[in-house]
Amino acid sequence: MAYQIIVCGGLAPDPLQTLEPVTTPTGPGLKNELMLPNVFDPWAGHALYEAANLAKNQPGSTIKVVSLGPKAKLQQVMMTVAQKLPFELIALDGPGGGFTDAVSVSKALADAIAAIPGFDKSHALIFGGWESATRGAGVVMQMVGERLGITEQFLAVDELTVESDGALVIKERVEGGKHQISKCAAAPAVLAWATGNLPEPPNHPQTGMANMRVMMPALQKAKPTALDAAAITYAQVALPAVTRQTRIVKDVPAAEIAAEIAAWIKQ
């Protein structure tokens, strides 16, 4: 079974960066946002690696990545992601970050997917992260699926296997460290991935060069995309008060420390 795998993924600030909210004329943003190094959103990244694995095992499958963000940032991030695996980029040039409206984002992504030449819904698997590292809401993929008329949807997916009859067996995370196992008769389906089980593929410079030859024109033609800036009114965005008065217990025998911890646990 050959699938049209479409991975939706945005950009997120490098997790090691310190983030500070600021007020901008268009709403809340991050201090020095344009200067912050970005990465491909971690959960979307897992979705992409799972897509590559599926495409490898299902000959004839294709991977397209639909990404919304500032064009310059997209180019910077894709230079790295492109070295991981072969895919085609559909770039949308618009605002990124966590404070954008998820409803508008879902509409932009769904419209871009529906406009892909040769898009065949009956063979489509729409992948993405279950949440982003920015907004972290976990709502966009479901809305994209609804707009495309796909009502077989799965959230927090850790495993997908395709059976010989084309049925999809999917493991989704549920509460308590368990997985729910479902069988979906066939595509189309939306799968919002958690971490999956695959490691990050190593960089492959030849793949990167081949990808970038196609991506650069795609980036230059990135469709300008406006989001509804008035959809959400932010009254406040603030950092939590993180400083605690840490009591340091040093040069104390392990037995004494253990006794103190045991008493604390029993409180």
């Binding site: 009502t151 196992i181 479902s182 932010y234 009254a235 950092l239 217990v249």
Partner: protein, 327 residues
């Protein structure tokens, strides 16, 4: 105040999840509300908590007993239309996190998840950038579905009331739920309701004072602690990644255990970190832990200083060996 609907689901066994009463309490604090329940045994479950509700709706039947997007979304959509509420409070379980954003799209509304507080004028609080900053926001789009984070609100007492009006729903789906995969009870190490979270860091797998690694002993100490205290086990990303790369590390750890920037931010009353390093990305996983302690060899560790309440500068192996004797 705009009309509010409290939307709940039952578990596979036909009971309401613990967080259902928290959702009811959050709505009751703002005024009158309708109640809707979907899932197995929904009508009886709805009646068991419907004392404060102006109207009560239920969708039940074999098809709606299990957690599945197509059926849950159709049932929730039908209840929302039957109520006509402008604001929908729902419990932020995985089942509703999966289904309700799509329902918001069907109803041409909006959806906010991980809500941790609601002000009387319907400004809601939620975290952004993986629990690194908190925002207070509102929307004009209606219906507005608010998924409330379990554990973030006080519970209401369960008081029975009026019987539910059944809502008829027809839906077709190609998905069948075939079961669950869970570790054996004696190997269960993720317990969302536990008082204590133990977080194991990558230090457990590093060379110790004698120049050798002691991974099997680390595994025994950690598992014994978790089983004896019935605590929940979390792990840092670096330790989970080592397992994922095929190294023989701590075999019981998976990505499900991961806390932090790319993991979860669980809610427990107490947290004990062992052999953990790292600053902001790590603290993210501890955002909702009230009482934090850490065992670490580095007294100047940036993660512990100012972020833990107590830092024990000690060897985790030694402390855990002693703890094992006491527990």
């Amino acid at each position: 105040m705009e009309k509010i609907l409290v939307l709940l689901h039952t578990t596979d066994e036909g009971a309401l999840p613990k967080a259902a009463l928290e959702t009811i309490a959050a709505a009751a604090a703002l005024g009158a509300y309708d109640l809707g329940v979907l899932g197995a045994n929904a009508a009886a479950a709805a009646q068991s908590v419907s004392a404060g509700a102006a109207a009560v709706f239920a969708v039940e039947g074999v098809q709606f007993a299990q957690s599945r997007y197509a059926t849950d979304a159709s049932a929730a959509e039908a209840i929302a239309k039957a109520s006509g509420a402008a604001v929908i409070f729902a419990t932020g379980t995985m089942r509703f996190n999966r289904a309700l954003p799509g329902v918001a799209c069907r109803l041409n509304g909006a959806c906010e998840t991980h809500i941790v507080a609601i002000e009387p004028d319907l400004k809601v609080h939620r975290w952004y950038y993986r629990q690194r900053m908190e925002a207070t926001l509102s929307r004009t789009a209606r219906p507005w579905i608010l998924l409330l984070e379990p554990g973030a609100f006080e519970s209401a007492p369960a008081a029975p009331g009026a019987a539910a009006t059944p809502v008829a729903v027809t839906v077709e789906t190609r998905t069948t739920v075939t079961g669950y995969h869970a570790p054996n009870a004696d190997q269960q190490t993720i317990r969302p309701d536990a008082q204590l979270l133990l977080v194991a860091g990558a230090g457990w797998t590093k060379k110790q004072k004698d120049g050798a690694t002691h991974t099997p002993e680390a595994a025994t100490l950690i598992l014994n602690f978790v089983q004896k205290t019935q605590s929940s086990l979390g792990s840092s990303k670096s330790l989970v990644d080592l397992s994922g790369e095929g190294q023989s590390v701590l075999p019981f750890l998976s990505h499900l255990h991961q806390v932090g920037q790319t993991g979860s931010s669980p809610r427990h009353r107490k947290g004990l970190a062992t052999c953990c390093h790292g600053e902001e990305p790590h603290v993210v996983g501890w955002r909702f832990i009230n009482d934090r302690r850490a065992i670490n060899l580095d007294a100047a560790c940036g993660w512990s200083r100012g972020k833990a309440d107590v830092l024990y500068v000690a060897d985790s192996f030694e402390v855990m060996r002693e703890l094992e004797k006491l527990l």
